[in-house]
């Protein structure tokens, strides 16, 4: 996952004139930016403002990011900073609201180190991409299996028009394909399942240091 060549290529293409690459960057990381704004409990209008600032800022950065793979880290840090900024400004106009210290605001909204949040977002993005790349039959089945709340086998059987008895074997096969695909994307070393992961090693530390 470090220096994901896929992300590096996306950034390079977007820095050129490839709008599709930009759209894909947005699809991939919008959930990260959004979830940070939501955690800071910003209003819808403030979230929109922060989003605009962050994405316009990213555009400016495209050609300058020394380490294109550090893009999600840049997005997360910038989003947090902009959210803090919004909270500080709106706070100024609440005469009786008190003025919480930055650290209080930060602690309230802090889900842990940026690195963990970024890693989680990356894992999610890789999984969604791996899912999208599955053959259609598998993709539909796995999507239903992963729906929330989960569907029962009879429901899945009815939706997909396949016998209940074949769901189990198909599920195993499709998830294996997904895992293989995810492995190719370098997901293994951060997968919690640990089946193929190198247990004990975290991918956090080295990545943002350079």
């Amino acid at each position: 996952m470090r220096d994901d060549p896929y992300v590096v290529a996306l950034v390079a293409r977007a820095a050129g004139s490839d709008k599709d690459a930009w759209d894909e960057i947005v699809e991939r990381y919008a959930p990260l930016v959004w979830s940070i704004c939501v955690r800071f409990r910003l209003s819808a209008a403030d979230i929109e403002d922060v989003g605009q600032t962050v994405w316009c800022g990213l555009y400016e950065q495209l050609g300058k990011l020394r380490e294109p793979a550090a893009l999600p880290g840049w997005l997360a840090t910038t989003t947090r900073r902009e959210c803090m900024q919004v909270l500080k400004v709106s706070n100024r106009y609440e005469p009786f609201g008190g003025e919480p210290e930055d650290s209080v605001l930060a602690a309230e909204a802090d889900p842990g180190p940026v690195e963990e949040e970024v890693l989680r977002a990356e894992r999610h993005a890789l999984l969604r991409r791996a899912l999208a790349e599955l053959p259609e039959g598998c993709r539909r089945l796995v999507t239903l299996l992963a729906s929330d709340p989960p569907l029962s086998y009879p429901e899945i059987s009815a939706r997909l028009g396949i016998p209940q008895g074949s769901i189990g074997p198909m599920r195993g096969r499709c998830l294996e394909r997904l895992r293989q695909s995810a492995l190719l994307s370098g997901l293994s070393d951060t997968m919690p399942s640990g089946e193929t992961g190198k247990s004990g090693t975290r991918a956090t530390s080295r990545r943002h240091v350079k």
Partner: protein
């Protein structure tokens, strides 16, 4: 860890990944995507060289004329742009006078085009609220684009 447990873990994480994506409103994604088009233009950026609000000075009581009419001037290599903001409209002129089209672009991705007449005059009504910028197209010259503007408050405040 047996394989069915691994499958369960994989599905659980996938569920989380799909929920994270589903939580994002479509408009949030669309605005983010349109940010690219707004930036990725082959146009000359016009410099803001005069703003009556900044000129009036901070802290001084605002005179009535500057409260109702704000004047801005932009400079580019091809022409300068004089803009006046009244209560309900944005009026302007290209100097030297020349015809063309003007496009009002909002951060949300809207674009509204109107004509610049033979003597270089244009008007935009109602005046935009929120952040916007103006792009000028004239024949045989590169487009000219202003930076992002807001009328609700002077820049830098």
């Amino acid at each position: 860890m047996n394989s069915s447990q691994a499958d369960e873990n994989l599905l659980a994480e996938l569920r989380e990944a799909l929920a994270a994506r589903a939580a994002v409103p479509p408009a949030f994604v669309e605005i983010a995507k349109s940010a690219y088009a707004w930036h990725h233009l082959d146009a000359e950026l016009a410099q803001l060289v005069y703003d009556s609000v900044l000129d009036a000075g901070r802290g001084a009581s605002v005179r009535s004329e500057s409260a109702s009419i704000r004047a801005l001037t932009f400079a580019s290599a091809q022409f300068s742009i004089e803009v006046e903001v009244s209560d309900d409209a944005l009026l302007g002129q290209l100097i030297p006078p020349q015809p063309g089209t003007i496009e009002l672009q909002t951060m949300a991705g809207q674009a509204i085009e109107s004509a610049i007449d033979e003597v270089g005059c244009f008007s935009i009504e109602p005046k935009p609220d929120g952040q916007f910028r103006l792009q000028f197209r004239t024949e045989g010259q590169p487009d000219v684009l202003t930076g992002w503007l807001t009328l609700s408050q002077p820049p830098g405040e």
